[in-house]
Symmetry: D2
Subunit: 127 residues, 4 copies
């Protein structure tokens, strides 16, 4: 991953793109690309979505959008000087304490750990 | 990164979250988290945004949202069986051909490589 | 709708928020709020999502996020001087020509008219 | 606006798109389109963004994406039976109480009213 970050930095520098690569612009670009990944799935039934990689055209788009999301995430992390692997390891550590396996709340959280801070638990999925 | 992917898979499995972790749901969650990262910056001036990590509260939020974005990206990649590092390396290879350094179009692209497929070049930033 | 736009403009002016209400910031805020609306649904099954308004807590969040999306859309339109109703009427006119009812392509488009410009038709949903 | 909602409903019905128009899919589509609106601005400087409508190509894209966002917002509201104008009027009423003009907190909120529920106030813009 460090090698890819370096290639991305060299790529941008060679094209004089650094002035555009502010944290705000890169966060916007990351969000836009995540939307393009979601676009592939937006009208698909769960069955079609599960088989998305069996369609060569869609499989190519998925790999392409994954690459774009990762590219902007790495470039964002470079300009704010955050190591994404360290950040994720620290978050998993915290969440292992917050969502104990034996706790029914872990099941109630129903799929994700990230959204619990934005609303009361009874607003969320799972029930 | 492989180790983090495994920890995420174990975390979800221990809490019976796999049925929720469809490609479509994970793509939606990735997009939602990218939006939360952008939210930190939405009202900031370029100067404030450049200094975002000097504010401990904001710096913590940035690391936390980076972790969430990476967590959902890795989990998405696991369910569709895509290696994100390979996908990104392949995209950099392609883009080195598409945006030659000597070509003025590279400068015109002005910041990003991903959006060129969604509109004519004169619709884009930079000029 | 004109009355609501005026109330939003007065609200922002009374709180000295206009300097923050640039087109770029408002477009970011609109995207962030649309993500928060999606967040309500991200882990829901199609059945749960269809019954979302039967849960008072979720129904309140839905109305709240709809209000936020519309608020930022109207404020964005005010600063770029676009009438959203005229823009939508013009787009429906264009799309009635582009997706004739008798044309099988209309069914192939499978759900949405907006995404066709971002990829070849065989990359899209429906099939 | 009621007339446009009816045209959108007729348009979708004539093309047999209703099965795709679930609340979850329409919320995803709304988020994707809001991302496409943001994409126009992602690399623009504040000065370029302020002049976006002076460029005919960009102005057309802005109107087009505004139309798409409004189309999906109205279709989402139709399937969940929410009146967006009523929802917004109710939210303005609530926010006039929550952000009194005389209160310094209104200025601290710095641009937006929607994000205050997702983090402590000192995490936010403005200061």
């Amino acid at each position: 991953m460090a090698g890819l970050s370096r290639r991305l930095a060299d790529f941008a520098a060679a094209r004089h793109w650094q002035p555009f690569h502010t944290p705000k612009n890169l966060a916007a670009a990351l969000s836009v690309e995540a939307g393009e990944l979601l676009e592939i799935f937006q009208w698909l039934t769960p069955e079609q979505a599960a088989a998305v990689m069996a369609d060569p055209g869609r499989a190519h788009r998925v790999r392409d959008e994954v690459a774009d999301v990762l590219a902007y995430l790495l470039q964002f992390c470079a300009v704010v000087d955050v190591d994404p692997l360290t950040a994720l390891a620290a978050k998993i550590d915290r969440n292992e304490l917050r969502f104990p396996v034996a706790d029914a709340a872990a099941d109630r959280a129903a799929g994700g750990w990230a959204e619990e801070s934005t609303g009361p638990s009874d607003d969320r999925a799972g029930g």
